[in-house]
């Protein structure tokens, strides 16, 4: 399971404050703790913490890289912010660019821009692509799969290895009105997206979005994570510092025969 630690995000108050105060220690501490907890990549998202997003993502990347060689997942909808982060990122550690839809009304070629940036960064850098296009986020299974198919085809046509693609079927908060059918639709989509290429693209999601505003955030995240792993999801942007959630990852992977059982399986689970 390729786990991406979600905590270095300006939406969190401690990170927002650290960005405002240029407090390296808070960021480095989060980087180290998430790495130790099993994060293969660390998401880096300026969020709404700073007006100068390009300068801030550079500062975050440089600050993390001073203490930690974990791959970074540069998180922005703006290609210029990603490019700024990439300009100082050590791509030898691998990395992910997060994220782009298939296309946007305002930018038909946005996917190409992300793929171009990943290509120039090197073969160790992947791209998270959302099953979303200029018409917005699809509500059903079929449209999600159709958009994913277009993304995979586009990548393959330009020689971009599908194994560098992370398809994100976009999980929305379950609490939003009329959104309760979406988790089920996403599970069905995951199962079909797996078959779009051989070897298949990775499938990931920003899991915590699902439980936004609910009273049982960790429980909802954990249960859906287990369900999604059982359908073939092999990556997720999660709170890796949530021990119970990490135990669910280990147990789900063991039950899906991705990891060999041993009596101490929780202790030795390694995210690879």
């Amino acid at each position: 399971m390729i786990l991406i630690g979600e905590r270095i995000n300006g939406m969190f108050t401690d990170v927002k404050q650290a960005i405002a105060e240029k407090n390296e220690k808070v960021i480095q501490d989060l980087a180290r703790r998430q790495t130790e907890a099993g994060a293969k990549y660390l998401d880096v998202n300026v969020g709404t913490a700073a007006a100068d997003q390009e300068g801030t993502i550079k500062w975050l990347v440089e600050t993390i890289q001073k203490t930690c060689s974990t791959g970074l997942c540069l998180d922005s909808q703006k290609p210029a912010v990603i490019a700024a982060g990439l300009s100082v990122m050590n791509t030898e550690n691998g990395g992910i660019l997060n994220s782009t839809p298939l296309n946007k009304k305002s930018d038909e070629d946005v996917l190409d821009k992300y793929l171009d940036m990943a290509d120039s960064a090197g073969p160790g850098v992947g791209v998270i692509t959302l099953t979303m296009d200029k018409n917005g986020v699809p509500q059903d299974t079929d449209t999600r799969v159709a958009i994913a198919a277009e993304i995979v085809q586009k990548a393959m046509e330009r020689g971009f290895d599908p194994q560098r693609l992370y398809i994100d079927p976009i999980i929305l908060p379950v609490k939003v009105p009329n959104a309760q059918s979406q988790p089920g639709n996403i599970l069905n989509a995951i199962e079909q997206i797996k078959y779009l290429a051989e070897p298949s693209p990775h499938i990931t999601m920003g899991l915590s979005n699902l439980s936004q505003g609910t009273n049982e955030r960790s429980l909802i995240n954990r249960v859906f994570l287990a369900m999604a792993i059982s359908r073939g999801m092999d990556s997720a942007i999660v709170e890796v510092l949530d021990k119970q959630l990490m135990d669910v990852v280990a147990t789900s992977e063991m039950l899906m025969d991705k990891q060999i059982y041993s009596d101490s399986f929780l202790k030795v689970y390694s995210t690879t």
Binding site: E198, Q259, I260, S262, S264
Partner: protein, 316 residues
Amino acid sequence: MPIPELVQTHAGSVSRVTLGATKEQGGTRTHTVTIGGAASVVYGGLPEKAGDRPLIAMDVLDTRPDDWPESLSQSFDDVMDSPGKWAAKCVECGADLICLVFDGIHPDKGDKTAADAVAATREVLGAVGVPLILWGCENADKDNQVMPKVSEAAKGENCLIGIVEQDNYKAITAVALADGHNLITGAPLDINIGKQVNILVTDMGFPAERIVTYQSTGALGYGIEYAYSIGERQRLAALSGDKMMAMPAICNVGFEAWRAKEAKLADAPGWGDVAARGPMWEATTAICLLQAGADIIRLRHPKSVAIVKNFIDEIW
């Protein structure tokens, strides 16, 4: 649309273990050997991902065996009272390693003392220059009593010592750690227990990269399919990045193959000449398990050693 190039890549690989220590390294071996390192399925990937060549260890017992069929024992009849001479003869036959098996210390097979075992160890160390495997009698109490002394006698030689099991691992793991040896973790054809033993010994501080795993081997006709599928599954787990399944593997083919009646029964009309049949049984078992991913094969008969080495030469 162009047809994509399909190359399966793996996150992990089998760890490498080096056995033996030369004079410069604090031992007395003439050379060292290295096993493991595979980063693909057996014979299934690029040659540079295949890892190190598998090795043959020949069994030398600390006592003259009384249950070996004549077709096997006749090769060593003149040297079976001297582990040193026996080992030297095995090296002449092409053994990459000597596996000194302390059968004679077993309470039911002679109940020899630790002093006897130490003497046998010293004799073999003096007689050959290849690295050694030191294999207990698989009686937990007696092994715990004797193997620490054996380990100490071979200190600095970077041997492979074992076996340790889920319910009896502490004593031998501790001495292997103290004396700088590599360790064999054993399990009874059970991959879950095999993984658990690896976790237990690494929890004691034993480095994972100095472990070789052993699953009770099944001979051709006697459960080889179980041994094969475990070997295969272990390799796939190693390739997927499971560090507790990434150790090289050793198989005890000689012992298991020569227990089969098909290998040893002389009076068996229609089964062919026993002189050829036994070694073929042993070699066929070995070749099958090599394809499951075995890194060290324990063998007994010079003829099967020649057949298996030839196979490895041809395919490696």
